[in-house]
Symmetry: C2
Subunit: 439 residues, 2 copies
């Protein structure tokens, strides 16, 4: 090795590897999108590279993984807040989606969300929405990593008239991305209360046929939990388990309400859970028992949920809110210490998505999904613990540079591939049309 | 009027005045630090000015007011997190303060905090810490607005051997700043459980003598509340009221635990309360009954508390956390809507500090404490409601430019007066010495 694609020097590397190694003044070498060497400056100083970046002692860490969102919905950001859930859904979200959730608009919303995520240090996201074939094309073009769940519901959806048509088309789309190492498309049966058992099982069968995960909302609200108990004498988790919906890798978003038995089930089936604390607060869903799930060895990752229920796709905010809210909720300031929260937003996210062999930490052999964070700023001084700063003091604009697969998507706070202005204008144009409707 | 000091054109002004007026493509005129005119571009286009700023349609709003912090403590930011309260206090904070809370170090910590606050759009803060005479000098130099409470405790403090010495010196310092329109020094008896009744009363007498507010921690934890009840058969608020501590303007930080009678007392005495939701979560203090206090017509402002219990002095984060946490805590997504939260962080803060005649909104005759926020960014697009964006989607780095009294302290993301690098190096040097102690 005497010439490589990319070399990052003088890096303060937070590896998030198994032993949580931290390296100072280190060099990181990338070839063909893969991390091929990590060591001291001296060790690699004579190696030449197409691109050499001097990190100047700034933090280099794995890109953040937003494990549950609905990227297309950012066109509705801030459209309706501070409303009762039913008013919000029935008077705003549902009618607006019915009219404005078109392929073109979802494409623009997705582009907008990807800009926001890249700028905030998110290199990979798990989506669940409509028109995911188009979403996949956009991710392919914009360079972000993504696990894209095509939403399946048991009523006419914006993209398909019925769930059978969705499943049939999805079979093709999944195959289309089978050999794409950066993007995968998977089934996203919306929830146990919006999908019949038959559809849930068909979605599971499809996932298993292609050996991909299934992404589903589970036990988000007290109402859902109680209703399921009344209807089936089972919790949502028991119900899904009994009908073999967990018979393969599953990404379960929310899981706010659950019994101890539910935790045993999730653990037994190695179901990965996504905690979305900000959305759960805003919609008054509740606070998920994250420390109890972790005690039960359930992998728990972090997500922002959509820009409608948050209203930002900001993993730094999500980390801080998770760290704070679970402390109070458990009356214990030692739960979810900063280091664990950083793992939730990186390697645990990769684990929940089934891509931890590829990303989630800075290790030799992994893809170079890497962010560089400027720590020479008043709000990040002084430095005692970098984990503390990442969780409690940093924010999205501290990210200077973002790589996915070794490709630079954002450098010194400038987008390298996308044209942000055009995307923002397109998004505002949709919003103007929506606002006209409400005037 | 044909020549003025400062003119901001093409501004999207969020006035936060009594009728919550929002102005588009407006011009704002400042003379001698005071807002002298607000109107359309056309109206003022022929007026010349020493400085003309084209806001390019970006948001111009009143600077944020951080109504409770301990600025000097930022040198301890991230030193000890995720610990039980008693371990945190007894093994880290108290011994470190005992050794490192010197006049020089408090000066550096304060400078660092002021940089952080200005950068995040905070134009005014209410402090409570030691060596406030030095803190006042620093604020005077650095150009920020401040209401500085000299901490008074009933045991030897880092700056004075006993509370009588503190009170005596404070009498002089208050007088010194009597005619300073930007900075005031006030008594800050730490709390009902760290000050004897005599000291509390002397602090009140001193405040009333100078006609300034008194700043005090009240009912922050369940432990404090219960202990006070056991000791005096009175809640902390009843105890303070009965002994006339509220017989003059009072800034009461926290107020997490209270009875309905307590709310009547606070309302009757027009006590201003500061909610610090992030600190209250991190230290598992609890969630203050903010909606109930507001229903009882108690003015409630927002504060970050110190960089030790937060760990940032970020009013945007504080606004979002307040909006989210109180919704869940009251099982009602309509409480504290975005517009109310923006008021809490601006005009209500000014009101609690007793300076709402001078600042807190953009109105003719008020001082020009103004921030300009770049809204042409992916995470702030599209725009339906600017209040929603301020609370749920913005963050500190969206602030481009900051004025206090019409003086520009931060322009296009650069500090104009202070040398941030020197301050950051000084703060890290203290941290290095502290870390040596713990190794």
């Amino acid at each position: 090795m005497n010439h490589i694609d990319l070399k990052i020097e003088h890096a303060f590397i937070v590896t998030v590897n198994q032993s949580d190694d931290i390296l100072y003044d280190a060099t990181l070498c990338v070839q063909n999108g893969v991390i091929v060497a990590i060591g001291s400056y001296e060790e690699y100083k004579d190696i030449s590279a197409d691109t050499i970046i001097d990190a100047q002692g700034n933090v280099v860490m794995p890109g953040l993984i937003n494990t549950h969102t609905h990227a297309g919905m950012s066109i509705f950001r801030g459209m309706a807040d501070d409303l009762p859930l039913q008013t919000w859904l029935n008077d705003y979200i549902f009618p607006t989606e019915a009219q404005f959730c078109t392929r073109e608009n979802v494409a623009i919303g997705t582009q907008l969300s990807i800009l926001e995520m890249i700028q905030g240090g998110t290199t990979c996201f798990a989506d669940m929405y409509y028109f995911e074939d188009t979403v996949a094309e956009i991710c392919n073009t914009m360079g972000i990593r993504a696990v894209l769940a095509q939403a399946i519901v048991d009523f006419p959806a914006p993209d398909f008239e019925n769930p059978h048509a969705t499943l049939e088309s999805l079979d093709t789309t999944i195959s289309l991305y089978k050999n794409n190492s950066r993007i995968s498309v998977i089934p996203g049966p919306h929830s146990p209360y919006t999908c019949s058992l038959k559809i849930l099982q068909q979605a599971r069968t499809l996932a298993n046929k292609h050996n991909v995960p299934l992404h589903i909302h589970v036990s988000e609200t007290q109402h859902e939990y109680t209703q399921n108990l009344e209807k089936y004498s089972q919790t949502p988790i028991e119900y899904l388990a009994q009908h073999n919906i967990f018979s393969g890798k599953t990404i379960a978003a929310h899981c706010v309400y659950m019994s101890e038995h539910d935790r045993e089930i999730l653990s037994q089936h190695a179901v990965g859970v996504v905690n979305n604390p900000q959305s759960n607060l805003k919609l008054i869903s509740g606070i998920a028992p994250v420390p109890l799930m972790k005690e039960a060895d359930i992998p728990v990752a972090l997500g922002t949920d959509s820009a409608v229920s948050n209203n930002s796709l900001d993993m730094f905010q999500e980390m801080k809110t998770a760290a704070l809210i679970h402390k109070l909720n458990n009356a214990n300031p030692t739960v979810l210490p900063a280091k664990e929260i950083v793992r939730m937003a990186t390697i645990d996210g990769a684990n929940v998505l089934g891509i931890d062999d590829k990303v989630g930490s800075i290790e030799i052999g992994k893809q170079a999904d890497i962010i560089i964070i400027n720590i020479n700023q008043p709000h990040l001084v002084p430095l005692y613990s970098i984990y503390s700063h990442i969780v409690y003091a940093m924010n999205r604009h501290d990210v200077d540079t973002v790589f996915v697969d070794g490709v630079c998507l954002y450098q010194n706070k400038q987008f390298t591939l996308a044209d942000p202005l055009e995307i923002m204008i397109n998004a505002q144009t949709i919003a103007n049309a929506i606002q006209e409707k409400y005037e």
